[in-house]
Structures are given as C-alpha cells and as structure tokens.
C-alpha cells in the first residue's frame, strides 16, 4: 500500500491532477472563512454587475480629500464623454443640417462643442434619420452638457426647519480620496449574476456542492455497479443473463427520461441536490457493472480462485478475498470516473432545467442554467458563465488526470 502510494506520487500526471483537485478543495474550504456570509445573498439590485472594485459614492463624498493636479485629468474626462466616433457623428449631424464644416478641426473640443450647442435641437427630425440615431444624438447631447458643466459639484442638504436646500459642501475636479480610507469598498472579482449575487462567492460554494454531488453519485453508481458486476461475473448462468438484461434495459432507455421520471416521482419539494445526486448514481452504474463483470469473468477461472472453491470457502469469502483485491485498483479508478461523470451530469441536467430544485444551495449547473436563462452568453456577461465552465472542466480534468496516472501505475504495460 505504502509502496503503491509512493509510486503514485512519482507519476507526474497523478501529482498534477492531485494538486489541482486539492487546490480546488482547499479553496472551497478556505475561501468562505476569508469571505464569510451567505453565498446566495442578493447584494446587487439589477443584473450582471461587471467585475471590479466598487467604491461607495456616499462614503467617498464624506472621506477626507486630497487635492491632486493631474494634467491628463481633463483629457480623460473628455475622452470618456466624447469618443472619436462621437466626434465623427457630430460632424455628420452638422452636414445633415447643411452647415459648412470644411474648416472645423475635429479634435478641437471647444470649437466642436460651440458649434454643437449652436446647432443641435433635439426636436428636429431630419429626413431618413432612424429613431435609434436620433436617440443617440439625444444621449450624446446630455453627456456633452456634462463636459461643459461647472468645475464644482455642489452638495446640499435640506434645512430641518424650512426644508430648503442649503449648500453643505462642494466637490471640485481636483478632489481625490484614497480608496483605503473609504468606509465601504466592495471587491467583486467576478462581478454579480442575474440575481445580484457575488459570483465568486457563489462559485466557490457551488464547486463544493458539485463535488459532494459527484461523490454521492459516484458512490451510488460504483456500489451498484460493483455488486451487480461481481454477482453477474462470478455466478454466470441465469443470474448473469438476468443482471445483464437489467443492465441493458437501463442502457437502452435514455437515462434522462429515467432521471426526469424518478425526480418527478420523488416530488418536486424533495428534489434537492443530494437526491439528484442519488438519482444520477442510479442511472449511471451500467458501465461499471459491465467492466467489473468482464474483469471477474477473466478472474474466476484462475487457479487461486479454483483452489478457494475446492477448499469449500463461501461465495462471499471468495469474492471478497480472492476476487475483489485483484480488481480493487480498477474499482477505484472507475469510482473516480463516476465522480467526474456525476458532476458533469448534474451540470447538464440543470442546464436543461431538470436539475436540483433548490434555492438554498448553489450548484455549478444551476449557475450555468440561470446565466443561460438571462442570456449572459449573448449579452457579454462572460463572468456569469465562463468561470463555471472552467471550474467544471478543471474538477473533471484533475480527476481524469489522477485516473490516468493511476492507470499507468497499476498497469505496467501502459508505462511510458
């Protein structure tokens, strides 16, 4: 055993897979300690906040300021409000209005703005201009007015008695605050999802749930597959035929039909993550059963098994001591594959809306499902689905890498 383990940890593939898997596991355990709280709390109002650092504007206004005279500040402001395309669009407007723009310098912001203010009227509807374009000019006009706004923003508070606004403070263009001094700063490395949940926090929790789902599904599938495979292979005859028949029935009926029906019959309310995991296990044991059976068939006529039989050992004892140890490594590898299949199945089922019906726990599949329902993939909210795909892939990849490593250790003929 010790020797096997040492061998295993000499296999590069196994170690790589093991490291990735342990890293994911550690994250699942440690991250909630660093960032505690309910992973499903809807902190954002509205959908899909971009990844980044969010600074409370309310607190920032009340934080001590530092004056910084940055030469590029004004340029940055103008660039944000007025892009190169906007400038071209402004010239287009002038042309539509029949204004001579031959001596206008498109990069001269002041000249451009003067001409704009003199000639733009939101109520004009030029012939052939689309509604979308007219609306664009209206928005552009609004943002241009901000460039021309005064150098200071005035903060005012209502007077307690009269209710009139009294100026309390001003914010100038050169006022800066140090982010570390602002009372509330929230870092959302992966933004928020459609419900306004912190995606990173949810992802970590979901990875944990999905691993548990995988383990449950893998255990159920391996236990069923192993026991039926052992029975079928060892007993042969009618028992073999019958077990193979059951296995075939499970193979020929599409498993997702079984999954749906089982989950319907256990009732909607009970369709939690663990139940779905068991259901996945109940439908995915067939190939384990087949492979175990064929392994047992090749073992059952070996000399040591026959010797055991002659010695009058009970069937259970023969199976446990003379057959199981020989296929143990194989069963462990099959189990690992079943775990990764279980994780994938949950994700796939949830994506089709047939996964766990739970709102108390996050699973990778449910995250993917909600992201797709809210068209995250087509509206550019990559943070809502890509990390999920990557996490599933990494978990499954690490398990398979370990499996390949083990394969090479246990099957000397496979060694490079």
């Amino acid at each position: 055993m010790k020797n096997t383990l040492r061998q295993l940890f000499h296999s590069g593939k196994f170690v790589a897979g093991f490291v990735i898997f342990v890293a994911i596991l550690l994250t699942v355990f440690i991250y909630p300690l660093v960032n505690p709280g309910d992973p499903l709390e809807m902190i954002g109002v509205g959908t899909f906040a971009r990844p980044g650092t969010y600074v409370s504007l309310y607190d920032a206004v009340r934080t001590d300021t530092q004056t910084l005279r940055l030469s590029e500040a004004d340029d940055n402001r103008i660039a944000k409000a007025l892009s190169a395309e906007d400038r071209v669009a402004m010239v287009e407007w002038f042309t539509t209005m029949g204004i001579d723009v031959s001596d206008l310098d498109i990069d001269d912001t002041d000249a451009l703005l003067d001409l704009w203010n003199a000639n733009y009227d939101p109520s004009i509807k030029p012939q052939g201009m689309t509604m979308a374009k007219r609306n664009y000019y209206k928005r552009l006009n609004n943002s241009l007015q901000e460039i021309r706004a005064a150098d200071e923003i005035i903060l005012a508070e209502p007077d307690e008695e009269s209710g009139a606004l009294v100026k309390s403070d001003t914010i100038s263009k050169t006022d800066y605050v140090n982010v570390s001094q602002v009372a509330n700063v929230k870092n959302l490395p992966l933004g928020t999802d459609n419900f306004g949940r912190d995606v990173l926090k949810e992802l970590v929790s979901a990875a944990g749930t999905s691993i548990v789902i995988g383990l449950i599904a893998g255990t159920v599938a391996t236990l069923i597959g192993l026991s039926l495979g052992l029975l079928s292979g060892y007993l042969g005859g009618f028992a073999d035929d019958f077990i193979m028949f059951v296995t075939n029935v499970f193979t020929v009926i599409p498993s997702f039909v079984l999954l749906i029906l089982i989950s319907y019959s256990i009732g909607q309310e009970q369709r939690g993550a663990a139940v779905v995991a068991v259901v996945i296990g109940l439908t995915s044991w067939t190939w384990t059963c087949r492979s175990v059976r064929s392994q047992v068939i090749s073992l059952r006529n070996r000399d040591h098994v026959n010797l055991s039989k002659l010695s009058g050992h009970s069937m259970i004892r023969i199976v446990l001591t003379d057959i199981l140890p020989y296929i143990a490594s194989y069963v462990v590898m099959a189990f690992i594959l079943q775990v990764s299949t279980g994780i994938l199945s949950e994700a796939q089922l949830s994506l089709l809306g047939l996964g766990p019906k739970t709102t108390e726990t996050a699973t990778l599949g449910l995250m993917m499902n909600w992201a797709m329902l809210y068209s995250a993939h087509t509206n550019g909210s990559w943070w809502a689905y890509f990390p999920v795909i990557l996490t599933i892939t990494l978990i499954s990849f690490s398990l398979n890498l370990m499996n390949t490593g083990m394969d090479q250790v246990f099957n000397p003929t496979l060694r490079d």
Binding site: K13, A16, D241, M244, F245, N248, V249, T251, V252, I253, P254, S255, F256, V257, L258, I260, L261, Y264, S265, S294, I297, S298, N301, S340, L344, A347, Q348, L351, L352, G353, L354, M368, M372, H377, T378, G380, W382, Y385, F386, I389, I392, T393, S396, F397, N400, L401, T404, D407, N411, T413, L414, R415, D416
Partner: protein
C-alpha cells in the same frame, strides 16, 4: 456450430425480452408524470374565455380525442397496434401534427449533424492518439494533457464557448438555425452554402469534445499493445517495424470500434445539447421540448427510436464479437 447456435439463440431471446420491457417502460414511464397535457391544449385555446363551462367542454372533447379517458392498458394496446404501422399518434404539444411527421422532419437534421461529427471526431481522435503513442516524447507530452483537458470540457461548455467566440464576437458563423434566415429551402448553391455555414458551430462543438476522449483512449490502447509480448517477440524475430505497427494499431482499434458503434447508437440523445444551444433543428431538441411539455406520444416515439438503435448496435456487436474475439468466445462457452 451447435455452441454458436445456442449462444446466439440465447442472446436473441434476451434481446427480445429487453426490447419488450423497454417498449413497455417507454410507454408507461412518461405517462406516470403528474402532468395533464390535455389541459395544456385546452389552455392554449381557452385563454381569454370568460365562460368556464365552455372551457370544460373543450377539455372533454380533447380527452375523448386522445383517448386519455380510457384505462392505461387499453391505451397501450392501441399504441402497440398503431406503432407497428408506423403511426405513433398525434402530438400533444404540436397538436394536431402527427408524431411520425414531426420525427420525420427532425431526424434528417440530427443524422446529418451527428453522424459526420461522430465519425470525424473519432477519426481525428484516433489518429492523434495513435501518433501520440507512436511518437511519444514531446508530441505526447503536449498532446496528452491537451486532449485530456479538451475531453473534460462539458459538451454545453464547448458549445457556449464556440458560440460566443466564433458566433457572437468574431461573427464567422451563424449561431442559430439550420439555414439562413432570409432563405427558403431550395437546391441552389447559395442555400447549400448557407446550410454548411450553419452546420459549422454545432458540428465542431461535438467534434472537439470527442477528439480528446478518443485520442486518450487510442493512446493508451496503443501503448498497451506496443508493450505487449507479441510485439517484443515479433521484434525479436526481426519483423519489419512498419508491419508490427500495422498489427498493433489494428488490435488497438478493436475497442475503439466498439466505442464508435455505441456512440452511433446513442447519437440522438447525444445531440441534445448542441441542438438546444445552437437552436439547430433535430430530434434532440424535439425530445427536449416533448419532455418539458409532457407530450407522451412524442416522448414514447423518440425514446423508442433510441431504444431500438442502441439495442441493434449492442446486438450486432455481441454477434460480431462472438465470431471474431476468441476471448469472448472462451468466456461464453465455459
């Protein structure tokens, strides 16, 4: 020969039993769902009606028409009788279309998408796997982990990524439908071009995932065979390397062919994700919408097709292996 006859006879009997049980399950399982598709049809047409008794009258009429007011076993006998003639009844969700009609229009797309994708993925994967096993060293060091990684990207993940990168961002290929939105099916070069370009993303999303798995499998089978005693013996005898390699890969292919046959057998279920994400017409999406709409006749018919295909493939494999693989033969006869 007598052994063979007994072996096949037994096989056939078990397959027949499996088939019968599967047909029964395919019929009854969907009907156990606590849903009432007749109510759905009624609802579709009754929205906005103020007169509640009129709605009930409609309900009764459809219950009568679909025979859902008859006992289950009568419905089953009727189903079997009609199914033999290729009539699977009328769809609930796409009423009044015939189930056979819906399947007829969808199955072509699924086969056209899946069959080439499975074969191409299989061929490319096996070539890469064999190369990896044969060349080893650097090639293998890169290819093996990459293949393994690719094979672990979930099918829907690959589909979504392809859709976002090549469809939404690069706009190289259309992302939905079977042919261009401004066309009507016809036999023109433009139309064929449009079908082909719509074909790309769903096709590659299937191929890319399966290449990895096939390559990993082929690689280990090949290494296994390359290290086998007969290869060492052949080398010892001085047989030409190219000849040995030929034997090795032929032997390594055997389990791979089983895999190919099985994935062809299960291809309808396999098309589900690609078809749904790319809104590609086909049986996968038909089956999915049938399930969500509790459309029993359509569910039973699609699952029956899957059942028959898988059964046929496993049966053929069993027969073929019974003939060609001495190991199976020995195992069966002792």
């Amino acid at each position: 020969m007598k052994g063979y006859r007994k072996y096949f006879g037994k096989k056939i009997i078990w397959f027949l039993i499996t088939f019968v049980i599967a047909v029964i399950l395919n019929f009854f399982l969907p009907r156990l769902m606590p849903a009432d598709p007749v109510a759905a049809i009624t609802g579709k047409m009754a929205s906005g009606m103020t007169d509640a008794s009129a709605v009930q009258e409609i309900y009764k009429r459809y219950e009568e028409e679909f025979g859902t007011n008859k006992p289950m076993w009568q419905q089953f006998l009727l189903f079997c009788k009609n199914a033999i003639r290729g009539d699977f009844g009328t769809s609930f969700s796409q009423y009044p279309r015939k189930v056979s009609d819906i399947i007829g229009s969808a199955i072509g797309w699924t086969i056209a998408l899946q069959l080439p994708a499975i074969i191409v993925g299989w061929l490319l994967g096996n070539i890469l796997g064999a190369l990896a096993a044969y060349l080893r060293k650097g090639w293998d060091k890169v290819l093996m982990p990459v293949s393994l990684f690719m094979s672990n990207v979930p099918a829907f993940g690959m589909a979504v990524i392809l859709l976002v990168v090549f469809g939404v961002n690069l706009k190289w290929f259309p992302i939905a439908g079977g042919y261009n939105f401004d066309m009507i099916p016809n036999l023109s070069w433009n139309f064929i071009k449009s079908v082909i370009s719509h074909y790309q993303l769903p096709f590659w999303s299937i191929v890319l995932v399966s290449i990895g798995g096939q390559a990993v499998g082929m690689r280990s089978m090949s290494i296994y065979e390359l290290n086998a005693d007969y290869v060492k013996y052949a080398r010892f005898l001085g047989i030409k390397d190219s000849k040995i390699v030929g034997y090795v890969f032929r032997n390594a292919m055997l389990p791979q062919i089983t895999g190919l046959a099985l994935s062809i057998g299960t291809m309808i279920g396999g098309a589900l994700v690609a078809e749904i994400i790319f809104s590609y017409p086909g049986l996968g999406s038909t089956m999915y919408s049938a399930v969500t709409a509790a459309d029993y006749p359509l569910i039973s018919a699609t699952t029956l097709i899957i059942t028959v295909m898988v059964l046929l493939v496993t049966f053929l494999l069993d027969i073929v292996y019974g003939f060609i693989d001495p190991r199976v033969k020995a195992a069966q006869f002792d």
